[in-house]
C-alpha cells in the first residue's frame, strides 16, 4: 500500500512542480515507482490517474507538439490544485473552520472533517469568540444530505421511498432542484418524473436510503422554476375573523392582522392558506376561540366539534 501511495505522491509532486507538461516517457523514466514492462507501466499510470481524479486532483492532458498529436503531455496546474487561501482573511478561515466543525457527529461529518483538515493547513488561526457551539439544524439534517447536494450539483435523478398521508410507502423518482430547512425540518423540491409536476418532500418522511442514478447531467433546472404556480406557497388569500379569549390563543395572535378588544374577548383577523391546517389550530384552542367568519369555516369547526363529542361519549 505505501509503495503505491509513495508513487502517487511523487507523481503529484512532479506534475505540480513542472513548468511544462511531461510526456509519459519522461514520467516513467524520472518518477520513482514505475517499473516493469512498458505495458504494465502504462496500466499503472492509467490507474494512478483515475485514482488521483477520484481524489479531486485534476491532471491536465495537453498535446505537446502540434505536428504529432499522439504525443501527449501531463501536468497539474497549481491554480487547480491549491486553495486560494490568500483570498481569505483570518476571521473568514475561522468561520469556515467553525462551520465545518459544527457538523461533527451530524450528517455531513465526513466531508466536513476533510474540509477542516485542509483549513488547518492555513497558518493563521484566530479566536472569533462569541459564536454558537451547537446547531440543532445540523442535528436534524438527513443523513443523505450529501447525496442530495451531489444529485443537484451533478443533475442526477434520485429515487426514494416516501411515506404518504396514510403511511403507505410510495416510490418517487425526482429531478432535484433545491433543498432548504424550515423550523426544524429539511425539505427537497424537484420535478416528480412520474407525476410530471413539481413537488416538495419533507426529508424525515423518506424511508431508507436515497438511490442516485449514475448518469449525470440527465436533466436541467429550468430558469425561473420558482415562479411556477405549483411551487409557490399557497396564497394566503382567505381571511378569517375569530373571537379569542383575552390572555389565550397566543399561536393565533402571533399571526393576527388586527386585534380589537370586545369585553372578555378580542376579535382578531388572520389570513390563511389551508383550511384544514387552520381547523386543526382552532380545535386545539377548544372553547377559547370561536369562528365568526367565514361561514364555511364556522360550519366546518362546528361539525368537527360535534363529531368529537359523539365519538367520545
Amino acid at each position: 500500500m505505501s509503495r503505491k501511495s509513495e508513487r502517487l505522491v511523487n507523481l503529484v509532486i512532479a506534475l505540480l512542480a513542472t513548468r511544462r507538461s511531461l510526456t509519459k516517457a519522461e514520467i516513467f523514466r524520472t518518477i520513482e515507482g514505475y517499473e516493469g514492462s512498458d505495458e504494465s507501466m502504462e496500466r499503472m499510470f492509467e490507474r494512478d490517474k483515475d485514482e488521483l481524479r477520484s481524489l479531486g486532483v485534476a491532471i491536465e492532458v495537453t498535446g505537446l507538439d502540434p505536428l504529432f498529436d499522439d504525443e501527449q503531455g501531463y501536468r497539474i496546474k497549481p491554480e487547480n490544485f491549491v486553495m486560494d487561501s490568500k483570498g481569505f482573511s483570518a476571521p473568514e478561515i475561522a468561520y469556515m473552520s467553525l462551520a465545518a466543525q459544527l457538523w461533527k457527529n451530524a450528517s455531513l461529518s465526513e466531508p466536513s472533517q476533510r474540509a477542516l483538515r485542509k483549513l488547518s493547513g492555513i497558518t493563521h488561526s484566530i479566536d472569533i469568540g462569541d459564536l454558537p457551539a451547537i446547531a440543532p439544524l445540523m442535528l436534524s439534517a438527513p443523513n443523505f444530505l450529501n447525496e442530495i447536494i451531489d444529485a443537484i450539483s451533478e443533475r442526477k435523478t434520485i429515487e426514494f421511498s416516501y411515506l404518504d398521508s396514510e403511511l403507505q410507502v410510495n416510490k418517487r423518482k425526482i429531478n432535484v432542484y433545491t433543498y432548504f430547512a424550515r423550523q426544524s425540518f429539511w425539505y427537497l423540491t424537484g420535478f416528480d418524473v412520474d407525476k410530471q409536476d413539481l413537488r416538495t418532500f419533507r426529508c424525515d418522511r423518506i424511508v431508507g436510503e436515497i438511490e442516485i442514478s449514475k448518469k449525470s447531467h440527465s436533466y436541467q433546472i429550468p430558469q425561473g422554476w420558482q415562479n411556477e404556480k405549483s411551487v409557490q406557497e399557497l396564497p394566503e388569500n382567505s381571511r378569517a375573523t375569530l373571537r379569542v379569549r383575552i390572555g389565550r390563543g397566543s399561536q393565533l395572535r402571533n399571526i393576527a392582522h388586527t386585534v380589537e378588544q370586545e369585553g372578555e374577548h378580542d376579535l382578531i383577523t388572520i389570513s390563511y392558506a389551508s383550511e384544514i391546517d387552520l381547523v386543526t389550530l382552532i380545535l386545539w384552542h377548544l372553547d377559547d376561540v370561536e369562528v365568526l367568519a367565514p361561514e364555511s369555516l364556522r360550519l366546518k369547526v362546528r361539525a368537527s366539534l360535534r363529531s368529537l363529542v359523539s365519538v367520545h361519549v
Binding site: 486532483v57 487561501s85 467553525l98 474540509a115 430547512a181 423540491t189 397566543s250 377548544l286
Partner: protein
C-alpha cells in the same frame, strides 16, 4: 453516529504536508487526533512521505521530516505546502454550515455581515448546490441572551408561552444549560416561582431579560414527572396522527386496532386529540374521554 473519515492514504498524505508546514513542532498524538486516526498510522504516513519528493530523489529533493522526538517538523516540501482546494462536497459542508451559523446569530451581531460576504464569495465561485433557505424557529436575540445567562450565571426574567396550557407566563429562572432534545432547543433552569427544575423551549420564549449575577446557585435538581398512558384508534391520516402524537403507527393500522402511547400532561393529550379533528379517537383513560367530550361540548355551545 460519528462516521469514520475515509482513510485514503494518498489523500491524507497530500493534506498532511500543508498541515505540518503550518503546525511545525506539533505532537504526533495531536496529528493523529486531527486526522481521526491512530499514532501508528501517522508514523506509517510519515515514513512514506519521507520517501517522496522531486524527481532525482536525492536528499536534496526529498521531503525532510523529523519526528523521532514525538514532535513533527517538516522541511523541503514547498511544492505541496499549500492546502488543497475543497472538493465540491467539502465546500458544500462549509457553505451549508455557514448558512446555519449565520441563521443562529442576530443580524446586528458584527459576525453576521462578515459571514454574509464570505458566503456570497464562496457560492459565486462554485457550482455546488447551495440551500435555498435556512430558517431556524428560534429568535437569535433570545438564544444569545440565554447563552449569555448560562455563561455568566445570571438570573433571567422570561415571558414564556406555555403551549399546552395556552398561557403566557412570567418566570424568573436561574439557567443551567442549553440543550437540544428531539431537534428543539431548550433552556434547562431552576424556576424560582415553582421552586423546582424547569425546562423551557427556546422558540416559545417571547422575551428574555438578564437580571445580573445570581447570588444563589441552586443544584441542578432532576425532577421526574409522572407519565400518563393513553390509548387511541387511528381513523385516518395516520402520518399526521403519528407526527402529532409522536408515536409509531404501524403501516397496517387499517385493522383499526387500539394503540398505546404516553405523555407528561393530560392537557396535551386532550388538546392533541381534539386538534386531530377525528383522525384519531381516544379510547382510554375514561377520565380524559370525558374531558374531551365536555370541553368539545362547551366549545360547541359557542355555535348554538
Amino acid at each position: 453516529m460519528s462516521k469514520k473519515v475515509s482513510q485514503n492514504q494518498v489523500e491524507r498524505l497530500l493534506d498532511l504536508v500543508p498541515y505540518l508546514t503550518s503546525n511545525q513542532g506539533v505532537a504526533l498524538e495531536q496529528v493523529a487526533s486531527d486526522f481521526h486516526t491512530d499514532k501508528s498510522t501517522i508514523i506509517d504516513d510519515l515514513n512514506t512521505l519521507w520517501m517522496c519528493g522531486l524527481p532525482g530523489y536525492t536528499p536534496l529533493e526529498l521531503i525532510d521530516l523529523s519526528f523521532d522526538t514525538g514532535f513533527v517538523t517538516i522541511r523541503n516540501a514547498e511544492v505541496l505546502s499549500k492546502p488543497r482546494k475543497f472538493s465540491s462536497l467539502e465546500l458544500a459542508t462549509v457553505i451549508v454550515g455557514l448558512h446555519i451559523l449565520r441563521e443562529s446569530i442576530h443580524s446586528e451581531n458584527p459576525h453576521f455581515d462578515l459571514i454574509s460576504t464570505l458566503l456570497e464569495r464562496l457560492s459565486s465561485s462554485s457550482s455546488v448546490a447551495i440551500p435555498q433557505s435556512i430558517q431556524s424557529n428560534v429568535n437569535a436575540e433570545i438564544r444569545s441572551a440565554c447563552a449569555r445567562a448560562v455563561r455568566e450565571k445570571q438570573n433571567l426574567s422570561i415571558r414564556y408561552h406555555s403551549y399546552t396550557n395556552d398561557l403566557e407566563i412570567e418566570r424568573e429562572v436561574f439557567p443551567f444549560d442549553l440543550q437540544i432534545i428531539d431537534n428543539h432547543e431548550y433552556l434547562e433552569s431552576f424556576c424560582y416561582q415553582s421552586n423546582a427544575a424547569r425546562i423551557f423551549r427556546l422558540d416559545r420564549i417571547k422575551r428574555a431579560e438578564l437580571l445580573g449575577a445570581s447570588e444563589f446557585v441552586p443544584d441542578n435538581i432532576n425532577t421526574s414527572e409522572s407519565m400518563r398512558t393513553f390509548r387511541f384508534i387511528v381513523q385516518s391520516e395516520s402520518r399526521k396522527v403519528a407526527e402529532t402524537l409522536q408515536v409509531d403507527v404501524p403501516t397496517d393500522h387499517s385493522s383499526r386496532s387500539e394503540l398505546e402511547a404516553s405523555a407528561f400532561n393530560d392537557e396535551w393529550i386532550v388538546r392533541s386529540i381534539c386538534s386531530l379533528n377525528g383522525a384519531a379517537t381516544l379510547t382510554a383513560p375514561q377520565i380524559l374521554r370525558d374531558q374531551i367530550k365536555e370541553r368539545a361540548e362547551k366549545a360547541l355551545a359557542l355555535y348554538a
